[in-house]
């Protein structure tokens, strides 16, 4: 929203204060000012100058060589126009004047003759479209007068308000509200632009008939009939004002109603009285199915949530949003009905939203405007109409439907409370002075205050003692408050074990395994889920998604990881990435409304070269991580069935922790790689950290070192190529209590091993913590392993 300092200056004189200072104080105390715009600042260096000489240019037919006198100095100027003669008073833009962003007047030689300045046309200065010649000012213009004095309606300084910073302040949606703030900030008197004595000049005391059928729709409705209207272009002063506030001049009545809206913050409307059917105006909720064509020529089908203004036959305006075409004023209008009202903000907001028409009026009504301003707005409007159209005359008294007068809001608090909340020792007089400067009334007894809130702040904005704390704080200046440390006893915070656990995992993956941590959104969408052949119906759907491709809460990190592989393969040959994050599971069984959050770690190994051993790498990272986290009782077991469609059926292993499924390690299914255009080898691990957390040992106790000798034993097993080593190891581990460890040392394929087989070499260590093993005990264990393997169908080398 734009605030014109010219309009402000009529209510509170701040002509001696720099606009930058005004903007700065308002930003710190009231609302964010986003910028300052100077309208036609150039006019300050364009002077009224008399042509003392006009001669042909010695070297050009179409140019004249002139001498212009500003009263104090004479300038030689070359001019291309032809409508000027000696003795004319013209507008001379001095050297250095910036007519526009990229047009600055400079001293120049034009066809060999020096020229210091330029005579301007109206079009060049943006005053009108007239480019037929340069401006010739009236002969009585005082020489040297600057153009900002000659065309005051063209000059203004505008403050741009961030609308988001005033959504809670209905009073600031008009200049009067800002004038009051500025008055309080600079300690100046504020004068209302409304002259209430105007009403005594009304000759016609007839009532305009208004009936508010649904009181809730409109707590106050005021109207006034005016006759003797002539619709025409607005006078220059009014057009200038309307342009200043960022609107387009339309005609005198529309311009005046718009002007009063931005001046007082109260939206106005004017109906053509002769177009009304019958003499009575109704305010009511629309009937379902009723239609209305609004001023923008759009026809709306109304519902019982929309408020309408109607005559005896039907709606004539969408209340608080836009007028109806059937009662629009036009060139033939001679009598009007002016409306100023207070409508139910909730209805206005809903109507404007549903029809997609957020107008200047609806924007204000939805903020809860004070009902107290309606009659003032009518009087102000009438006064301006009289000024623009002298023949205009009130044709009724003010019809004012206001049955439930607004309640006065009174707040009880104390100066002590305000000091305590701000943490600053402000004396009583300063506190009451600030409160009163903002139009609040105070009854004070000792420290206690009974404060009456002015009507324009009382609709929603100010209702409790803490609101008064804010009023005092912002005008006193938060910058003037001395920072002080809170004085409280401190205790160390409770340790969040899970947070430490997460950080340790991140450290291990980044430091021990040189992986790169990535992060994705918590949202996912149908397209990627379908590509991964994940049943999308299981994912929670968002009611109001950011985009249609991010309309579900993720229940797995894998879609993200796969997309990140796809993305990063463009920039990197080989990389290892992981994400540690939450997924969201629909809880179907117990309470369908509750979402189960599960923390997982998923990582990927990518190598551009096809058929690289990525699966083994992913497996060794996952098992290395679980080992480093000291996870008790975990094992990796081969799985062939019930694996997700994106996993390679021959290269997948399940992570089992304490007997429960805690994740999966797999090579990406070739069909999925192809769909995602992943050109290389990729394997992924995905671990349920909630389960791992429970099994991870966090408290370490020292154990006596192995005192008795360890006996190594190596064995090579011939197996089918697709047999998992883990199958062999689990058989070996069953060989008795002296087996301390068993691990694969090598896998060999090729001659002399038959083509469909491989040889897996395993190193087994025998030991006891109680004694040195005897030859017999060792041999028995060895034999048990060998026979177990043979019984399971393996042959040994």
């Amino acid at each position: 929203m734009w605030i014109s300092l010219k309009i402000i200056n009529r209510m509170v004189d701040i002509s001696d204060i720099a606009p930058e200072e005004v903007a700065d104080r308002l930003t710190m105390a009231t609302a964010e000012i986003e910028g300052i715009e100077y309208l036609n600042k150039s006019f300050q260096t364009i002077y009224a100058a008399k042509l003392t000489k006009v001669e042909p240019h010695p070297d050009a037919d179409k140019l004249t060589l002139c001498e212009a006198d500003t009263g104090s100095e004479k300038f030689q100027v070359v001019c291309g126009a032809s409508n000027h003669k000696t003795g004319d008073i013209v507008a001379l833009a001095a050297v250095g004047t910036k007519i526009s962003e990229d047009f600055e007047i400079k001293k120049a030689k034009i066809r060999g003759v020096e020229s210091s300045g330029m005579f301007c046309s109206e079009k060049e200065l943006g005053i009108s479209e007239d480019h037929s010649g340069i401006i010739i000012l009236p002969p009585d213009t005082v020489l040297g007068t600057t153009l900002d004095k000659i065309y005051p309606e063209q000059v203004d300084i505008l403050l741009e308000i961030d609308n988001k910073s005033i959504t809670h302040r209905p009073d600031l949606w008009g200049h009067e509200g800002f004038a009051r703030e500025i008055g309080a900030l600079f300690n100046r008197t504020v004068k209302s632009p409304v002259d209430r004595t105007v009403e005594s000049t009304f000759k016609n005391k007839d009532n305009l008939e208004v009936e508010v059928k649904d009181l809730e729709s409109s707590p106050r409705y005021s109207a006034l009939a005016v006759k003797g209207i002539e619709i025409k272009e607005s006078p220059e002063w009014l057009k200038g004002m309307v342009r200043s506030i960022g609107m387009r001049p339309i005609n005198n009545i529309v311009d005046i109603t718009n002007y009063v809206m931005v001046e007082l913050g109260e939206p106005m409307h004017a109906f053509d009285k002769k177009k009304l059917r019958g003499d009575k105006i109704f305010v009511r909720y629309a009937k379902d199915g009723e239609t209305l064509t609004t001023l923008d020529d759009k026809t709306h089908k109304l519902t019982s949530e929309d408020i309408v203004i109607a005559d005896i036959e039907g709606p004539i305006a969408l209340a608080g949003v836009m007028g109806g075409a059937n009662s629009e004023i036009d060139e033939s209008t001679t009598e009007i009905v002016l409306e100023a009202a207070c409508f139910n903000p909730v209805n206005i907001r809903k109507t404007a939203h549903r029809f997609g028409v957020r107008t200047e009026a609806s924007m204000r009504f939805e903020k809860s405007i004070s009902p107290e301003v309606t009659t003032d707005a009518l009087l102000r409007c009438y006064e301006l109409i009289k000024e623009a159209i002298p023949s205009a005359e009130a044709a009724s008294s003010i019809a004012d439907h206001y049955p439930g007068k607004m309640n006065t809001v009174t707040i009880h608090t104390s100066t002590d409370y305000i000091r305590r909340k701000l943490g600053e020792n402000i004396d009583d007089n300063r506190i009451t002075g600030i409160i009163e400067s903002l139009s609040f009334k105070i009854k004070k007894t000792g420290n206690e205050m009974e404060i009456e809130v002015p009507h324009f702040r009382a609709t929603k904005d100010v209702s409790i003692a803490d609101d008064i704390v804010e009023e005092v704080g912002r005008i006193y200046g938060y910058d003037n408050i001395t920072p002080s440390a809170p004085l409280v006893p401190c205790v160390p915070p409770a340790k969040n074990d899970f947070r430490f656990f997460e950080r340790r995992i991140k450290d291990i993956l980044t430091e021990s395994f040189s992986m790169v941590e990535v992060m994705g959104y918590s949202f996912t969408g149908d397209q990627i889920l379908n590509m991964l052949e994940i049943n999308e119906e299981k994912e929670l759907r968002l009611r109001n998604p950011l985009s249609s491709e991010q309309d579900r809460l993720r229940r797995s990190l894998i879609p993200d990881i796969v997309t990140f592989i796809q993305y990063n393969q463009r920039y990197s040959e080989n990389f290892d990435i992981f994400e540690l994050g939450r997924v969201y599971i629909k809880n179907d069984r117990k309470s369908p409304d509750l979402i189960v959050e599960n923390t997982r770690a998923a990582g990927a190994v990518f190598i551009k070269k096809p058929s690289s051993p990525v699966f083994y790498e992913a497996k060794s990272i996952a098992s290395g991580l679980l080992e480093q986290m000291k996870v008790k009782n975990f094992k990796l077991v081969p799985v062939k069935e019930a694996i997700p469609p994106y996993a390679h059926p021959g290269r997948s292993m399940r992570i089992i922790v304490e007997g429960e499924d805690a994740g999966l390690i797999f090579e990406l299914h070739p069909a999925i790689s192809e769909k995602f255009e992943i050109n290389g080898s990729a394997a992924i691990f995905d671990i349920d950290l909630n389960k791992v957390f429970k099994a991870a040992k966090r408290e370490i106790k020292f154990k006596e070192l192995q005192k008795f000798p360890e006996v190594p034993f190596e064995i090579s097993v011939l197996t089918e190529k697709n047999t998992y080593s883990e199958d062999i190891l689990s058989i070996i581990r069953k060989g008795g209590r002296y087996i301390k460890s068993a691990e694969v040392v090598s896998i060999y394929e090729g001659a002399p091993i038959p083509e469909d087989r491989k040889s897996v070499s395993v190193k087994v260590v025998f030991a006891s913590s109680e004694k040195t093993l005897t030859h017999n005990e060792i041999e028995e264990t060895q034999n048990k392993i060998i026979s177990d393997l043979k019984n399971a169908g393996y042959s040994l080398r």
Binding site: S165, D467, S484, A485, P486
Partner: protein, 126 residues
């Protein structure tokens, strides 16, 4: 959020200034402007002096020397009440510090979308 007896705007300013100075490892200037958030009263926008240009004006701070960093305020009495705390006896301040905003300020990152892009060329720089 901090709740205790007599927690004030003055305490809020102190804690914010201290917190930000420690994070950025240098003296910072902060200022409070009125801002509206229904769960605090009074509510503020906290600005920090632009660390990119040092407050002289640049494209990050739109030539103002200040950058809007976080919303904060004194906890609204209704919030305390609904939390089972008597607002007559206790008061508190609350703030919402976006880590992304801080990191962007610290390293001069210009686009918030980098954080969730999964682009390892971005992540590897840190």
């Amino acid at each position: 959020m901090m709740v205790d007896r007599d927690i004030s705007v003055s305490n809020l300013i102190y804690v914010m200034k201290k917190l930000l100075s420690e994070i950025f490892k240098r003296d910072v200037h902060v200022r409070l402007r009125p801002g509206y958030f229904p769960f605090v009263e009074p509510g503020f926008e906290l600005d920090i002096n632009c660390l990119i240009c040092g407050g002289t004006g640049c494209s990050v701070c739109k030539q103002t020397g200040w950058v809007e960093l976080l919303p904060c305020g004194l906890v609204h009495p209704n919030v305390l009440k609904h939390g089972g705390i008597d607002p007559e006896k206790w008061s508190g301040f609350a703030f919402g510090l976006g880590l992304n905003r801080l990191i962007m300020m610290k390293y001069g990152i210009n686009d918030i979308r980098h954080f969730l892009s999964g682009d390892i060329r971005f992540v590897k720089q840190f």
